[in-house]
Symmetry: C2
Subunit: 366 residues, 2 copies
Amino acid sequence: MKFTVLDSDGRARRGVLTLRHGVVNTPAFMPVGTYGAVKAMTPQELRDVGSEIVLGNTFHLWLRPGLEVISAHEGLHRFMGWEGPILTDSGGFQVWSLGKLRRITEEGIAFASPIDGSSRFLTPELAMELQGVFNSDVAMVLDECTAYPASESEARDSMELSMRWARRSRDSFDRDNALFAIVQGGVYEALRAESLARLLEIGFDGYAIGGLSVGESKAERERVLHFIAPKLPAAQPRYLMGVGTPEDLLHAVVNGIDLFDCVLPTRNARNGWVYTRRGILKLRNAQYRRDLRPIDEECECSTCRQFSRAYLHHLQRTNEILGARANTFHNLFYYQELMHGIREAIHRKTLSRYVESFHEQQQRAC
Amino acid sequence: MKFTVLDSDGRARRGVLTLRHGVVNTPAFMPVGTYGAVKAMTPQELRDVGSEIVLGNTFHLWLRPGLEVISAHEGLHRFMGWEGPILTDSGGFQVWSLGKLRRITEEGIAFASPIDGSSRFLTPELAMELQGVFNSDVAMVLDECTAYPASESEARDSMELSMRWARRSRDSFDRDNALFAIVQGGVYEALRAESLARLLEIGFDGYAIGGLSVGESKAERERVLHFIAPKLPAAQPRYLMGVGTPEDLLHAVVNGIDLFDCVLPTRNARNGWVYTRRGILKLRNAQYRRDLRPIDEECECSTCRQFSRAYLHHLQRTNEILGARANTFHNLFYYQELMHGIREAIHRKTLSRYVESFHEQQQRAC
C-alpha cells in the first residue's frame, strides 16, 4: 500500500491511495456491498458512477455464502466480478449490533447466526483469517463498538478491550494487504487520544474512527471528529466509518478525513429518496406524479438523461426493480460527483467556498 | 406499417416489419413491459440483448400511472425511455382474467380496479383510445378470451362477440399506427376458420391467434395452431399471443408465426430459473453452491462472462436485486439469440436441422 498526499486546503487533503487492485483518489466514498454486491448495481455501473473502491461486510459474507465458496473463487474480487480495490470491515460492528444475541468476552464474541442459528465465535484472529480469504485490499482490525450512551469508565473498558484486540489482529495478520486500525473511546476526548496513542504504538497502514453515528447527537459527533481527526497520522489514510450524509462527508473532509462508506445513498434510493443539488426528493410523493423533469436538472447521470420524475414515481409505486436501479445509480453518481468536486476544490484551495455553495444550493426548492 | 417476407423454409418465414418507431426482424420475440418497464431491465439493456420491439400491457398502464400521465409524456415511448417499436395489447385478457370480479356484456367489460376499487368499463372504443394515447406502433383489438374448457356453443358465442368487438375496434381506431385482429374460437377448428374469415372481411394490418395457453393440453394447442396458423394471410404479420417456452416458439415458427410475447423468460429469471443450451437450470439448488462455471458455457452474455453459478446462487439466496437483473439479462439474451438462430436457419433453409439440434442439445446434462 502506498498513500501520497498531493494537495491540502486547511486540514483537508487530496491524495492517492495505491492498493493491490488499483488506485483510489481521496477523499473517496466507498459504496457498500453487503453480500458481495452493491445493492441493485453491477460492477460496471459502479465504475460508471466513478467508484474506485467498494466495501464488503465480513460478517454477512462469512455467514452467506461462507468462506468455502469465496475461497473457491480465490477471494471476493472474482466472486463478485469487481476487479478494483475492496475494503472489508472486520464483522465486529454487525456482531455487536446483534445486541442480546451475542456475548462478548476477552477472547472474542459468541453469537448465534441469524441465518441458521449455528453457534459462531468471532475472534481477532478469525476476523483476520476471514479477510485473508476474501483477499480484500484493506482489512480492518476487530474492535468492540462502544455503546451510546456509556459512562467514561464503560467507554474506557470497551476501548481497552478494542486495543488488545487490535494488537491480536496485527499479530495474526499475515497478508501483504493493508490493515487499518480503529480508534474508539466513545464521546470522551481523553479516551480517543489514548486509543490513538496505543494504536500508533502497534503501527498500522491506516487509521479509522469508529463508534460514531451510533446514537450520539450531531454536536457530539462533530466535537469528537474535530478533536481526533487532525491527530491521526498525516502521512496515512484516515477513514471515518459508516458516515454519512453529504453534509457529514463535507464536514469530515474539512477535518482531514480521506475515506468514507455508508449505506445511505443505496438504501435511500430503494425507498425512493434521491439526492439533488436542492436537497432530498421523495419520489413517492404525489407531487411528482406528472412531473416531466429529471430528478436533478443539473445532473448528467443516465437516470436523469432518460427518465422523468413521473416515470420514477410510477416505478416506485409499482415496486419495479428498474426504479431501485435507476435511483441507486443516480444517488451513487451524486455521491461520487460530490467527492470529485471536493477533490477539485482541495486542489484549487477553494474548499470552504465549495462547502458554502453546497449549503446555499441545498436551500433552494426541489 | 410495412411487412416484407424475405425468405421462407417450409411454412416458416423470415421477414422485416417496418413500424413507425423502427424495424423488426421476424420471427421476433417481444419482452413484456407490464407497467412500462420490462422487469429489471433498462431500455439500453433491451437493445443489448437484441430486442427490437417490446410489449406494453394496456390494462396495467391504464390503472397505473393512468392516461393523464402517459399523455403528458406524449405516449409510452418517452414515458419509458424506449425509442423502438411498441406493441400494446388491448387489456381484454387481463380484465377477463379477473374472473368473478368482472361482468361481460355486449357493450364491454365492467370491473372494479384491483388497485383502488374504482368502477371501470372497458369497451372496444376505449381500448382503441387508450392505445391511441399510448401511441403504440401496433394496437390490438379488444377481444373476449374464450374460457377453457368451453362447449362448442359457448366458444361460438364468445367468438362472435369478439368479432363484433373487432368491428367496433376497427371502426373507432383513428391512428396511423397498425391495428392487429385476434382470431378466437377455442379448440374448435371450424370456429377458428370462421373467426378468421370474419376478420379478413373487416381487414387488419396483422392477425394474431388468441385464446391459447389458457389451460388446454399441449396436443390441443398444437393441433389448433397447426390448423389455423397457415391460413392467416401470408403477406401480413402473424402473432401468437402469450406463448411461450423455447420449444413452443420453435413449433410455432415452423407453422408460420412471426411474432411472440411471453413473461416466461423474465418471470423465470426472477425465480432463479435460467435457460441454457442444456435445458433449464434452477440456480437456488444446492448443487450450484460452489459451481464456478457460468450459467451456460457457450453463452456470451454479460452475465455469463462475469458471474459464476455459485455467485448467482448466492445472489438468489440473499434476494439481491443484482441476481434478478443478471438472470433476466441472460434469459432475454438466450431468447433473442434463439430468435436470431431461427432467422438465420430460415434464411439458409436449415430450420428443420436447427429444431432437431435444439432438441438434441436440450437432452444433455446442465
